[in-house]
């Protein structure tokens, strides 16, 4: 009986996840040339990926991006969730809905709107700078494009992570901290010693999703590329490289190898984070 219930999912899972994975794995071990056709090349594509600067530049960009953006976003999300849960806010529902609102905005629209806000011609930030007789800040230069993109991601995803953490906070039995409150523990101490440890699994969930999301970054930089092709190159993020190899250069085989290498890099990082978390919990 359970198989009847499971079959719609398992069939589509096999068709649209497992089969494509096998297909990609196969593809990544071949090379197709105009003359000579498709040949099996073993791990050649992977060896090439390991020494491909175009790929590792993208990976480095994403590390630089994530190492600042993820802690800021999750820290803000956690802070906001704790404040929503603390009962000291005047209009918690309004804050919750507005913080969450950008999640409902397609990332294409988010990138467009922020692109305009950053813009030199009619962007309000440049307008204010000119009004104050200052030089309008340049948001899309080699030095500033990563923070500018990180800001868009933060804007979009802070509320989503906040809602996951807030949902976890609401599920903590209040007896857990009522006693501490009666004993006179401050809200900050309760948050630090009781609430945050209690929702650690939810925080880890958001962290893992954020790491994966960072290494999958594509939409926003791909839109910025239209206006600033010299700043945002075809390999600015690993995923853009995958896309451009496949659909720009028709190198589907090598593109598949890059995608798998990226997946392995992501998995290693996630494993590192989870391993560190397990080690920390054993020590505690």
């Amino acid at each position: 009986m359970p198989y009847l219930f499971l079959s719609p999912f398992l069939v589509s899972f096999l068709a649209f996840v497992v089969y494509p994975l096998i297909y990609a794995a196969n593809l990544s071990t071949t090379r197709t040339r105009i003359i000579g056709g498709t040949t099996f090349v073993g791990i050649d594509n992977y060896l090439r990926a390991l020494s491909d600067d175009n790929f590792w530049t993208g990976v480095r960009n994403m590390v630089a991006f994530g190492i600042v953006q993820v802690p800021i976003m999750l820290g803000a999300a956690l802070g906001a969730a704790l404040l929503l849960d603390s009962g000291i806010l005047k209009r918690p529902t309004v804050f919750r809905l507005v913080f969450f609102l950008p999640f409902a905005v397609p990332s294409v629209v988010a990138a467009l709107v922020w692109g305009y806000l950053y813009g030199q011609s009619f962007g309000p930030i440049a307008q204010i700078a000119r009004f104050l007789s200052l030089d309008p800040p340049l948001f899309i230069t080699p030095a500033t494009v990563i923070p500018s993109l990180a800001n868009i991601t933060t804007w979009q995803w802070t509320g989503y992570n906040m809602v996951i953490m807030y949902a976890a906070l609401k599920a903590i039995p209040t007896e857990l901290y009522e006693a501490a409150r009666v004993d006179g523990a401050s809200g900050l101490r309760i948050a630090w010693h009781i609430k945050i440890p209690a929702i650690a699994p939810a925080i880890m969930l958001t962290l893992v999703f954020s790491i994966i999301g960072t290494f999958q970054l594509f939409n926003e930089p791909n839109l910025f590329r239209i206006t600033s092709p010299t700043v945002v190159g075809t390999n600015f993020t690993p995923n853009m490289y995958v896309y451009n190899l496949a659909f720009g250069n028709q190198q589907f085989d090598y593109s598949a190898a890059i995608a798998f290498t990226l997946a392995v890099v992501t998995a290693l990082l996630v494993a590192l984070v989870l391993g560190f978390n397990a080690w920390r919990r054993r020590r505690a």
Partner: protein, 294 residues
């Protein structure tokens, strides 16, 4: 700060904290809302008005209605086609993937069968498969099956929602008492009937959560539709907007389409926003369970 004094019995210091906390949240409120305020104001301006006026104030003439009709008129009404495509894609992806996830999550929660934990582990593990790994094969599969220029090309992959299965399993474990299922069996109801008439209703908040997450995921998706939908009359809103924007901003060959792109962007986010506000009270309940249980 009456709220502060009411909730904290310890006098003045916490009330200063409360002022500080509310202040921070107001700053966050502005950060999250101001880009959208700009978008709304910009949609009311003409092309010239965008350049001549301050971004955070109105400009004469009030051009919103003209902009909206320009959006609908552009390229023989392709915007409406994009909206229809996006709605078909997002609705069918959300409805089907939610039902599929509910069936699977229910099976994982209610039945004991060989290999259950292993299969569930694989399903949950697949959440971590980056989309770009399967994107290229999906593209090739879809063209092999002659689906590459149909909406099915994006709907079919969206049927797989492993995070949804996880949420539904956890939710079903909490929301469906075993005694109820056993009682149904004693009454001679078939397993399918038990699911349809007893379990489905109890799963409602979880269903709303999964539906909403997959609806938004599909409505806002850009990567897969960009890859799989080549013809402009099959574009989704995200792909179409990016295309219009590229016409507006391409260095050298720019057309003056800013007012159009801005207004079309505003129009694209309204349906999802409304959907969210309507169901927001229902859906967080589903996450509450998902967020705690690991």
């Amino acid at each position: 700060m009456t709220t502060a004094t009411r909730t904290s019995p310890r006098g003045r210091a916490p009330s200063r904290n409360a002022v500080f906390a509310n202040g921070i949240m107001v700053a966050g409120f502005l950060y999250f809302i101001l880009p959208l305020v700009w978008l709304i104001l910009a949609s009311t301006k003409t092309e010239a008005g965008l350049f001549d006026s301050f971004g955070y104030w109105f400009a004469a003439p009030f051009n919103l209605l003209q902009n909206i009709s320009d959006v609908f008129a552009r390229d023989h009404g392709v915007y409406l086609t994009w909206t229809r495509n996006t709605a078909i894609y997002a609705l069918s992806a959300a409805v089907l993937s939610t039902v599929i996830a509910a069936l699977a999550g229910y099976a994982f929660a209610v039945y004991d069968f060989r290999g259950r934990n292993a299969v569930f582990a694989i399903v949950v593990g697949s959440v971590f498969v980056p989309g770009s790994v399967v994107a290229v094969p999906l593209f090739m599969m879809m063209s092999n099956f002659g689906l590459s220029d149909t909406l099915l090309a994006v709907i079919l992959p969206a049927l797989v929602n492993p995070f949804g299965v996880y949420l539904m399993k956890v939710y079903a474990e909490h929301a469906i008492p075993r005694e109820l299922i056993d009682a149904g069996r004693v009454d001679g109801a078939s397993e399918l009937r038990i699911f349809a008439s007893i379990a489905f209703r109890l799963l409602a908040p979880g269903l709303v959560t999964v539906f909403l997450l997959s609806f938004v995921g599909a409505w806002n998706n850009y990567f897969l539709p960009l890859l799989l939908l080549g013809k402009s009359d099959l574009f989704t809103l995200s792909v179409g907007l990016a295309y219009w924007n590229s016409l507006a901003t391409q260095p050298g060959s720019a057309q003056f389409l800013y007012a159009l792109v801005v207004t079309a962007s505003l129009m694209a986010i309204i349906p999802v926003t409304i959907a969210f506000f309507i169901v927001q009270r229902y859906w967080e309940g589903g996450l509450t369970v998902g967020g705690v249980k690991e």
